[in-house]
């Protein structure tokens, strides 16, 4: 039936907002678990799959040295089993490519959270290799062909990779083409495309966090986006992560 898929999508989108909201509260130090005790409803599991590495953000950015919530580890691993990745359909398929990168990042974070030598088992199919770190889905990161606009949109989809600990070809691309990222962030802000602006501002904050040169000061941009944002928990989560990366302070 034509209505079945949209309603399921709506249900998963609502769940993604709920999980993002919990991650946001945890990141702000307001307590509560990112993932409630299992077993989770299928929609919540789908939401964890959608958010990918962002469910690890409170753990990575807390600065407390505490171990990651066991429920996060368990759910992140289960989500990939219940919702396996499709077969990537070339570089043009941005959604599939972003999911492959998300899986790569989650596998790395699971390996790190569980300890050395555990990454290979969690690596997504087709990216496994010897050692703890799974192979990246695109060895050179998103190709930049001199057109900052489409490239920055692609990087916006990969914003969940802008986290401490993670580093790879996408991050190399961000460092290499910081101006293209900044132009994309400025363009999205001026167009009132808050979600894209927040995602790209997160990359700029990540650059600042790593000490790389950043063509735009992230802080004033993050403040402006927080005031004019689209109100979604996912966008606020991007901004909160960005602020934490940029300043090291609790958002």
């Amino acid at each position: 039936m034509p209505v079945a898929e949209p309603s399921l999508r709506d249900e998963y989108a609502a769940a993604a907002e709920r999980v993002a909201g919990r991650a946001l509260e945890a990141l702000r130090g307001l307590g509560g678990a990112v993932v409630p005790a299992t077993p989770l409803p299928r929609a919540e599991l789908a939401a964890v799959r959608v958010l990918g590495p962002d469910v690890f953000a409170p753990w990575l950015l807390s600065g407390t040295g505490e171990p990651c919530e066991p429920a996060v580890l368990e759910t992140a691993a289960d989500a990939r089993v219940v919702f396996p990745a499709g077969v990537p359909n070339g570089a043009a398929d941005q959604g599939t490519s972003a999911l492959a990168w998300s899986d790569w990042a989650v596998a790395l974070l699971l390996a790190r959270a569980r300890g050395p030598g555990t990454g290979e088992a969690d690596a997504p199919a087709g990216t496994r290799r010897r050692g703890a770190a799974p192979a990246p889905p695109e060895p050179n990161g998103p190709p930049y062909r001199g057109r900052w606009h489409p490239w920055s949109l692609r990087m916006a989809h990969l914003a969940p990779l802008a986290l401490p600990v993670l580093d790879g070809p996408v991050h190399d691309a961000a460092r290499r083409d910081a101006l293209a990222l900044a132009r994309g962030a400025v363009r999205a802000t001026l167009r009132r495309d808050h979600r894209t602006a927040a995602r790209l501002a997160r990359w700029l904050a990540w650059l600042a966090h790593t000490g790389a040169p950043c063509p735009v000061e992230p802080e004033p941009l993050l403040s402006a986006l927080a005031l004019t944002g689209d109100g979604s928990a996912r966008t606020h989560l991007h901004l909160a992560i960005a602020r934490r990366l940029s300043t090291g302070r609790r958002p």
């Binding site: 900052w148 363009r187 001026l190």
Partner: protein, 315 residues
């Protein structure tokens, strides 16, 4: 080196816009009302467009990148404007009556650039430049640059602290590029036009400002193209050429060329063009001037047009 495709588009856009402007003036548009007074009811109505057409004509003659037909059209438009201003008498009388007004000088400068002179106005402007009052009158920082550049071109010998004037503008502060708006877009373009004397002095722009513009012009051009603000896009493309090697590529030129009408009318924005020729002229003459300026400056910089000669001393 500027892309040949860009140069071809710049030449096409500019020559068509000039054809339209020239034809409109020959049809009588852009003329002052009969018996025009020193104090027009609405200076923007016809008085300002005369100065704008003179700007376009003077740059065509200065840079010498148009063909013989374009050069002749430019000269005829300047002659037309100068006649409308009663060979400068109207400017002189207006300046004499209003010490602090700058529009007579800012109109006169474009005629001076093309070799026209009004002896009494030169003497008056020289005398006024010695008044403290004239130098401290209240105005926006980019307007202060316009006045300084007019004095420079006319040849009024005055010490000018260009870096300080530049630093006082929005652009000079290198602000957050996402906090720009449409009106500030014009402040930016005019800051560049006056500091570089319409592209003749690319080094007139402080190096950090030029670098800032190279970073953000492509974004601003992109968003105002999307908004259909062709007039502002044209000004930003002129800026792109004023600061050195252009960075915006051929796409915005293609889009501007695609919205230009076959007769050369260049719409100011994406709204429908008014069917009345008089209203259409009034609405879109500025954008035709912008197209001529953008194309001329782009061609001149790419072809290495010589720097303009120093302004002759007022007679």
């Amino acid at each position: 080196m500027t892309d040949n495709h860009v140069l071809s588009l710049a030449q096409q856009l500019s020559s068509r816009a000039l054809d339209w402007l020239h034809a409109a003036h020959r049809s009588g548009f852009g003329a002052l009302p009969a018996g025009a007074a020193v104090d027009p009811t609405d200076p923007d109505d016809a008085y300002k467009p005369i100065g704008e057409a003179a700007l376009a004509g003077s740059l065509i003659l200065r840079d010498g990148v148009a063909g013989p037909r374009g050069m002749q059209a430019a000269q005829e438009m300047l002659d037309f404007g100068w006649r409308q201003l009663r060979s400068g008498d109207l400017l002189y009388e207006r300046q004499l009556r209003h010490t602090l007004l700058t529009d007579p000088m800012e109109t006169y400068v474009h005629f001076v650039r093309a070799g026209y002179r009004h002896r009494a106005l030169d003497e008056l402007l020289g005398a006024l430049a010695g008044l403290r009052s004239v130098h401290v009158s209240e105005m926006l920082p980019n307007r202060r640059l316009a006045v300084a550049n007019a004095r420079r071109t006319i040849g009024i010998d005055q010490p000018v602290d260009w870096p300080a004037l530049a630093a006082a503008t929005w652009l000079g502060a290198l602000p957050e590029p996402w906090a720009v708006d449409w009106s500030t877009g014009y402040d930016i373009t005019h800051t560049v036009f006056h500091l570089t004397d319409w592209g003749a002095l690319p080094d007139g722009l402080p190096a950090p400002v030029a670098a800032y513009l190279r970073d953000w012009l492509p974004v601003w051009v992109d968003i105002w193209l999307e908004a259909g603000q062709w007039d502002l896009v044209g000004e930003l493309l002129a800026v792109d050429s004023c600061i050195g090697e252009p960075v915006c590529g051929s796409e915005p030129w293609e889009q501007l060329a695609s919205v230009q009408h076959p007769d050369g009318l260049t719409p100011r924005d994406a709204d429908p063009v008014d069917g009345d020729p008089g209203t259409a002229f009034k609405d879109n003459e500025h954008t035709a001037v912008v197209a001529v300026v953008a194309g001329t400056v782009t061609l001149a910089r790419a072809l290495g047009a010589a720097a303009p000669p120093a302004a002759p001393a007022p007679a």
